[in-house]
């Protein structure tokens, strides 16, 4: 036999739903150790310079002061982060569901796409800072205006990628289904939806950090609660260590969310070129 398989057997599952494929970690220790060493070196240099040069604390606090700010009142950061995270993910969820549904309609009808794309683009170019006061008037100072800002800022990437993804089907596979007189819904569930998943994940990678930015900006503007308010208060107090702490917490949130999405993507899209080590 000339044809030989080039890879190990795939998992036994065969549905259109994602197949969970657990991979052993392959990263050598050095890949983890090197960035850690670099970060530690930077922090040590920073600490030393601030102490030796007697830099003012409100200009640039030493890393130890930032650590103290974080460790001294961790609940302050945790509670604020939870509020921001809730608004960001709530907004992302609403935007993803709405944009995906709209994308399905637009992918099936050029007329609908032409009609709906300009208003959707309007949503994208609208500065959220300008819209936010309106949201405050309409929805009050609760969590909703922030959720909606996060939704607004993440809507467009998901919409555009959904439309492109649902249209990026293998033409030969599509022909095969058409020759069998497959219905629109059969083509959607068996071909279009799975084909769109790589695009949807690409959109989520963009949207996840955006949603966090949207939520924090909204909190910053309203000053009611969350990381945005924490930053606002710390800024008013010239509490620079807390400001740095907020930056670190937000960065950690962003990284965790991105890693989470990547993990999910890796498991759902193990069939895709981008994960087959090509």
């Amino acid at each position: 036999m000339v044809d030989t398989p080039v890879r190990a057997p795939a998992p036994a599952d065969m549905s259109d739903l994602p197949v969970l494929n657990v991979r052993p970690p392959r990263q050598p220790l050095i890949a983890v150790a090197l960035p850690v060493i670099v970060v530690v070196a930077i922090l040590a240099g920073w600490e030393a310079w601030v102490r030796i040069a007697h830099v003012q604390r409100y200009l640039l606090p030493p890393p130890t002061a930032i650590a103290q700010a974080l460790a001294g009142d961790p609940m302050r950061f945790i509670e604020a982060a939870a509020v921001s995270l809730g608004a960001a993910l709530g907004g992302l969820l609403i935007a993803t569901m709405g944009a995906f549904s709209l994308g399905v309609l637009m992918a099936h009808s050029r007329a609908l796409e032409r009609a709906l794309y300009p208003p959707a683009l309007l949503l994208k170019v609208m500065p959220i800072v300008a819209v936010y006061p309106l949201f405050l008037i309409w929805f009050g100072f609760g969590i909703w205006p922030r959720v909606l800002i996060a939704a607004l800022i993440t809507f467009f990437p998901v919409l555009v990628n959904t439309v492109i993804g649902l249209r990026s089907v293998d033409p030969q596979a599509h022909d095969f289904l058409r020759a069998l007189h497959a219905s629109r819904s059969q083509v959607f569930w068996r071909l279009r939806l799975p084909s769109s998943l790589p695009y949807l994940f690409a959109a989520l990678r963009i949207s996840v950090p955006l949603s966090l930015i949207g939520a924090v900006v909204a909190e910053f503007l309203s000053g009611a609660s969350g990381m945005g308010q924490l930053i606002l208060v710390a800024n008013g107090d010239f509490d620079t260590p807390a400001l740095f702490g907020a930056v670190i917490v937000l960065a950690a949130l962003g990284v965790s969310l991105t890693v989470g999405i990547s993990y999910l993507e890796r498991r759902v899209l193990d069939w895709h070129e981008s994960y087959r080590g090509v």
């Binding site: 044809d3 398989p5 890879r7 057997p9 036994a12 065969m14 259109d16 069998l180 069939w271």
Partner: protein
């Protein structure tokens, strides 16, 4: 399956293109008919019109006594294309099961995989297989729902010569057992002669049918046939028809 005076024109940036000009062709029940011709002679257009994937601008297509759409609805068509168009997220077995899900029919998928020699790879994904194996999956998928007309558009065109040879012989053996009607588009003359009951020769721009060569070689056939005088004579006849057609253009 019958095509009468089929014409197809479509607009392009360089003016109207005549892809097909009054082509007529018949494939009887259980007959294996090949179409050979140069690239762009409209052979794929003809096949796509028969499959109901495009509506030709003139003439008539009858498949099993009805329109191509009726044949689609009756699940009477099986399609194999040059790029197999398998679903990358499905296993081999699930890919072959796809037409059964669409048509609501059932079949012994394991036996089918056995028949095309891919039973051992049932749980693999298409991305883990070679081109030849993928094309076997495409063939199994096209046969799964029990079509009465198999449409093959250069199915081995993207393969290396060794896999091509191997799949050609397997298709030959498979067809001689099952005997369903096949319309087979290729540009390899000896492939067409080895497999077919008739070879239809087309010329390009505009796409016309210029010859219809009956292949009276005995069945079952094998590759040993390729060195017989009759085989050589028939390939010569097809080649001459192609040459005449291209000379007629100048």
């Amino acid at each position: 399956m019958e095509v009468r005076d089929l014409s197809h024109r479509y607009p392009s940036s360089a003016g109207e293109v005549v892809a097909l000009e009054r082509a007529s062709l018949r494939v009887g029940a259980g007959e294996f008919v090949s179409i050979v011709g140069p690239s762009g002679c409209g052979k794929t257009t003809l096949l796509r019109a028969v499959a109901g994937l495009i509506a030709a601008t003139g003439g008539e297509v009858r498949v099993l006594g009805g329109a191509p759409e009726d044949a689609q609805r009756a699940h009477a068509l099986g399609l194999v294309t040059q790029e197999p168009g398998l679903l990358a997220w499905r296993s081999v077995e699930a890919n072959v099961r796809l037409p059964l899900e669409i048509t609501g029919t059932s079949a012994d998928v394991d036996a089918l995989l056995e028949r095309v020699g891919i039973a051992a790879f049932a749980r693999y994904r298409p991305g883990q297989l070679s081109g030849g194996m993928r094309q076997r999956v495409a063939l199994a998928r096209a046969l799964a729902h029990g079509p009465r007309l198999l449409l093959m558009d250069e199915p081995f065109g993207a393969l290396d010569e060794l896999s091509r040879e191997e799949l050609r012989l397997e298709l030959l053996a498979l067809w001689e057992r099952e005997r369903i009607a096949v319309l087979f588009v290729t540009h390899a003359i000896h492939e067409a002669v080895l497999l077919s009951d008739r070879v239809v020769v087309m010329s390009g721009s505009p796409g016309r049918i210029v010859a219809d060569v009956a292949i009276d070689l005995p069945r079952p056939r094998s590759e040993a046939l390729e060195s017989t005088p009759r085989f050589v004579a028939l390939t010569g006849e097809v080649r001459a028809a192609l040459r005449d057609a291209s000379r007629g253009l100048r």
